[in-house]
Every structure is written in structure tokens, then in C-alpha cells.
């Protein structure tokens, strides 16, 4: 198993931390992992992306040019990364704010209404966990238990009280993910 994933969206959406939680879940699952962010003069509202690789073997290059899965959370990221997904790969996106839907016909495309659900839940911070739940429903690479374990390791102690809300959002995301028509 080797899964090369790009997660992209606005800074402040929890793109990097979602990647980190996924990578930590992989560690808990006994996988090899790598996490490389785009870093730069970026800020809330700017663009942010991170490459996460989960593998059951040693990862040679953490830098890749094509991805098995693209998880995109805004129009700019969709425009930028849709063509970087391998033929037959997976695209998961939040339709909120998307004016030009994906054009590729050779991908498995899924949607998750994470922004809407996060607003409904009254806790905007768990937005990224709806998305992660959706992804793990499509590709169950790590168990929910290991995601929770990963959260325990990646969040500072003072944030551990947030774990139940995160788990709830994760499970809700698994229910709500839809295959695009």
C-alpha cells in the first residue's frame, strides 16, 4: 500500500493540521509517513497545501508530481491540482464556493459539504475533520481508533477536551460523503 495525497485549500481551514492528523494516524497504524507543507509568506486566507504519503514500505521520495488522491477545499486549489491527480485516482472536494466543478472524467469524484456542516455544528474548527472522515470512508487507510490516537499525539494536552467533538465530526463526515454525479 502506498497512498500519495495532496490536501489543499485556504490558510486557516486546517489543511496542514488535517495532514498532520492523517500522518500521525498512519504512524499509529504502523505505517511509514511523510508530510511536506508548502511553506511561504502565507497567511489566513492565502493558499496552503500539504503532501502526505502513507506507505507500508520505506518512502524514497517525499516529493511527488502526481497524487493518488486530491482533497481540495477551494476553487484555486481545484484549478491548481485537479490535473495532478493520477488517472483513475480520487478527488474529494467541498462544493462550498466552487463555481467551476471538476472537469476530469477519469477520476472517482466525491463531495463533502464540510463548510455547511461545520457551520451547522456551531464549531468551525472541526471543519477539517468532516473532510478527513469523508476521505477515510472512501479510503479506509487508517482506523478511526488510530485517528483518535493520532489526535492525542498531535494536539497539545490543553486541546484534548476537543477530541470528542473531532471524533463526532469525523464520523459525521463518513456518513455525509457523496459520490459526485
Amino acid at each position: 500500500m502506498k497512498e500519495e495525497i495532496i490536501i489543499a485549500g485556504f490558510g486557516g481551514q486546517g489543511v496542514l493540521s488535517m495532514g498532520k492528523i492523517l500522518a500521525y494516524s498512519g504512524v499509529m497504524q504502523g505505517q511509514e509517513v511523510s508530510w511536506i507543507p508548502s511553506y511561504g509568506p502565507e497567511m489566513r486566507g492565502g493558499t496552503a497545501n500539504v503532501t502526505v504519503i502513507l506507505s507500508d514500505r520505506k518512502i524514497s521520495s517525499p516529493v511527488v508530481q502526481e497524487f493518488d488522491t486530491g482533497i481540495v477545499l477551494n476553487q484555486q486549489s481545484l484549478d491548481k491540482f485537479e490535473d495532478s491527480i493520477k488517472p483513475g485516482g480520487t478527488l474529494l472536494y467541498d462544493p462550498n464556493g466552487i463555481t467551476h466543478p471538476p472537469h476530469r472524467t477519469d477520476l472517482d469524484v466525491y463531495t463533502i459539504d464540510a463548510a455547511v456542516e461545520a457551520a451547522r455544528s456551531g464549531n468551525a474548527k472541526v471543519f477539517n475533520m468532516f473532510v478527513l472522515g469523508a476521505f477515510l470512508k472512501i479510503k479506509p487507510l487508517v482506523t478511526v481508533e488510530n485517528v483518535i490516537e493520532g489526535l492525542r499525539h498531535s494536539l497539545p494536552e490543553r486541546a484534548h477536551k476537543m477530541i470528542p467533538a473531532n471524533e463526532e465530526a469525523l464520523r459525521k463526515g463518513m456518513e455525509l460523503v457523496k459520490k459526485a454525479e
Binding site: W35, I36, P37, S60, S61, V64
Partner: protein, 365 residues
């Protein structure tokens, strides 16, 4: 499982510094390595091991604080990125001249000038060939994983005290910013004042019960004395070349074409070798772990059978000069490939460049 962490390379440098029993870190923040100072500040080692962590007013101040700490036999270090290293170069030359042990880390970014904050490997000349003035060399370790960011800090201090010389760790923005699994080293105690007095009889720790005091200097006005000092330094550099060469080889035994790459680029090239071998191409990789001393013999050995060498660097081509010297045969083509400006070449780009090189030099595709 408990001791496996997921961390950024830069964060690991900070943990490794505390855990290897360093006495002091002096630094000034600069992207892409600011997490080193940030993490050290978060770890508050002054409350546990007693290690000093100090944000200096500039890189010039940092390196001179290192000079001061090292003069007292302390295990001291700093870290910076390219433009910051330029400011430290005078200090590096003085440290080498005065035979002071210390560890200096460059998590390099793109230049020249203010350049870009994105990853690059364009500091090879500066770090490996000097940067500062005068006849001096420094061992240079080039980590290519987060684990090695941990392991090389302790190794760098070991070499620094073995040779009484500054030791460089040359990383890049990819290795610094990337998170991977890491086993952190166990905590070593800092050396006591008594241990330092015994292990560093040269240190400037006051006269004590001796007749004369130690003087730490790189200044020798008398030409004969200065030349003798240069010969003494050179003997150390020669010994480093004999004893400290470190490198890794991948699939070189029957390789017709050899990629040479270090740091982040060597990880990308490892993928190229995997892909090329799947396609039946006889391609191997030599990865220098020490850039000085350079694995000249390993490359010369491979050159006995190879048809060509591709030096793959995130620069316009700097290490290629050492690869050419090592190959030592004008009939064997040595070419460079690399992206710059903060663009990281992908495995596919490198593979395409390799195939192009092979086509033009009579290789079998």
C-alpha cells in the same frame, strides 16, 4: 511505539541539541529554520539540563557567542539559513583558525541575495569550500531524513571535539520543514566543569593552579609560526579525509549511469533509481553524507565501469565540480541537473533528464 514521534526536521534539531547534552544555543530566526529556536524556547532546557538558549541580535552576534562558549570548552551551536550564514562566515573562519569545536547548521534556501525562502541547495560552495577566508575546512554532514536531523547533531559534536573544528550540518528547506517518523536520542547529561577541564586542556577557563593561562586565538603575526599553524590545521583536514568519509550507495554494483545527490535531492533520486530499475535501466545512486570530506574514492571506483554521472542538485550546479574531480576522466561525461528558485525537481523531471543524458551519451534505453 511510545518513543516514535512525528516531527519536522527543524523541531528535531532542537530536541537533538538538548538531548545530546549541548551547553548553549545562540541563534537569530530566519525562514526556513525558525522552528529550531522556537522549539528550543518551548522546551525550556535551561530549567532541565541547564542549557542556555539565547536569541542574539543578529547572526554576527550568534556566531561570536558561539566563539565565546566554545573557547570555554562548552558544547555550543547555532543554526541559520543562507543569508544568515553569509553573515557568520567571518566567525567560522576565526573558529577554524582558533581550533574551536562547535556545530553550525544551515537549513539552506534559495539565493543569491535575499533570494527566496523556499528550499534550495545552492550553499554547497559556501559551506563546503569555505565561505570564510583563509585555508580552512570543516566537516559537512548532509542529512536526507528527519531521523538524520536527530542523529547528526550528536555526531557533529563528536567530530567537532575530535578535531577541534567547527562542524557544519547542511540541510535544506525540504528536510527542515518535512515531518517524518523519528526516534529521538536518549538524554545525555551535560559535561560537568571538571569533565570539561579534563577533556579540554586548551579551554580558556582561568589559570587555576597552572603557571600560564590558555589563550584562544587565530592571530599569528610571525610568518614562521603562522605557516606552522597552517600545516597543523592541514594535517587535521587530511586526517578528516582519511577517516570521516561517509556515503551511501544504491544499486551501483552494475550501474552504467550514476546519479550523485545529497540531502532532499538524494531522496528524489532514490525514487528515480527505483523507477529506472523497474524499466530495466542500469542506474545507481551515490549519496554523499559528508560533503567534506567528499566520497571521492567511491565515485572514482564507480567511474571504472560507468558511462556517465548526473549530479542532481537544487542549484545551478556546484557539487558537480567535486564529482568531476572524483571521476578524474574527461572521457566519462558528467552532467548537472537541478531546479532552483525554490522549485523542487520531481522524480519524473530527474528521470527525463537522465534519459536525455543517456540518449546523448550512448546509453541503452
Amino acid at each position: 511505539m511510545e518513543d516514535i514521534k512525528l516531527m519536522k526536521g527543524n523541531e528535531v534539531l532542537a530536541h537533538a541539541a538538548v538531548r545530546c547534552g549541548a551547553d548553549g544555543y545562540f541563534g537569530y530566526p530566519i525562514t526556513p529554520q525558525s522552528e529550531v529556536l522556537e522549539t528550543l524556547t518551548e522546551l525550556r532546557p535551561w530549567e532541565t539540563t541547564g542549557m542556555v538558549v539565547l536569541q542574539a541580535e543578529s547572526e554576527v552576534a550568534s556566531i561570536n557567542m558561539v566563539y565565546g562558549g566554545a573557547s570555554a570548552g562548552k558544547r555550543v551551536m547555532t543554526s541559520t539559513s543562507s543569508p544568515g550564514l553569509s553573515l557568520m562566515c567571518e566567525g567560522l573562519s576565526y573558529l577554524a583558525g582558533a581550533e574551536l569545536p562547535c556545530v553550525v547548521i544551515d537549513v539552506s534556501r534559495g539565493g543569491p541575495g535575499l533570494g527566496t525562502i523556499q528550499a534550495s541547495q545552492a550553499d554547497y560552495f559556501q559551506v563546503v569550500k569555505g565561505g570564510g577566508h583563509g585555508d580552512y575546512r570543516m566537516p559537512v554532514l548532509a542529512p536526507n531524513s528527519v531521523q538524520e536531523m536527530n542523529d547528526f547533531v550528536d555526531l557533529a559534536f563528536e567530530l567537532a571535539f575530535k578535531y577541534l573544528n567547527p562542524v557544519m550540518i547542511l540541510a535544506d528547506g525540504v528536510i527542515g520543514q518535512m515531518m517524518e517518523k523519528v526516534h529521538l536520542s536518549p538524554q545525555k547529561p551535560r559535561r560537568t566543569e571538571e569533565q570539561i577541564r579534563q577533556e579540554c586542556p586548551w579551554a580558556a577557563l582561568g589559570k587555576g593552579d597552572r603557571k600560564t593561562r590558555n589563550i584562544v586565538t587565530s592571530c599569528y603575526i610571525d610568518p614562521e609560526t603562522m605557516e606552522r599553524h597552517n600545516h597543523k590545521l592541514q594535517a587535521k583536514y587530511d586526517r578528516m579525509e582519511r577517516e570521516e568519509v561517509r556515503y551511501e550507495e544504491m544499486e551501483t554494483a552494475d550501474a552504467e549511469y550514476i546519479l550523485v545527490a545529497y540531502g532532499a535531492s538524494s531522496r528524489i533520486c532514490a525514487k528515480v533509481v527505483e523507477d529506472a530499475r523497474k524499466d530495466g535501466l542500469k542506474v545507481g545512486l551515490i549519496r554523499p553524507i559528508t560533503l567534506f570530506p567528499f566520497p571521492t574514492d567511491a565515485i572514482r571506483q564507480a567511474a571504472r565501469y560507468a558511462k556517465g554521472f548526473l549530479s542532481v542538485e537544487l542549484s545551478m550546479g556546484q557539487m558537480i565540480e567535486d564529482v568531476k574531480l572524483a571521476v578524474g576522466n574527461a572521457d566519462i561525461p558528467v552532467r548537472h541537473f537541478g531546479r532552483t528558485g525554490g522549485i523542487i525537481h520531481s522524480p519524473r523531471e530527474v528521470y527525463e533528464a537522465l534519459k536525455q543524458f543517456m540518449t546523448e551519451t550512448g546509453g541503452k534505453l
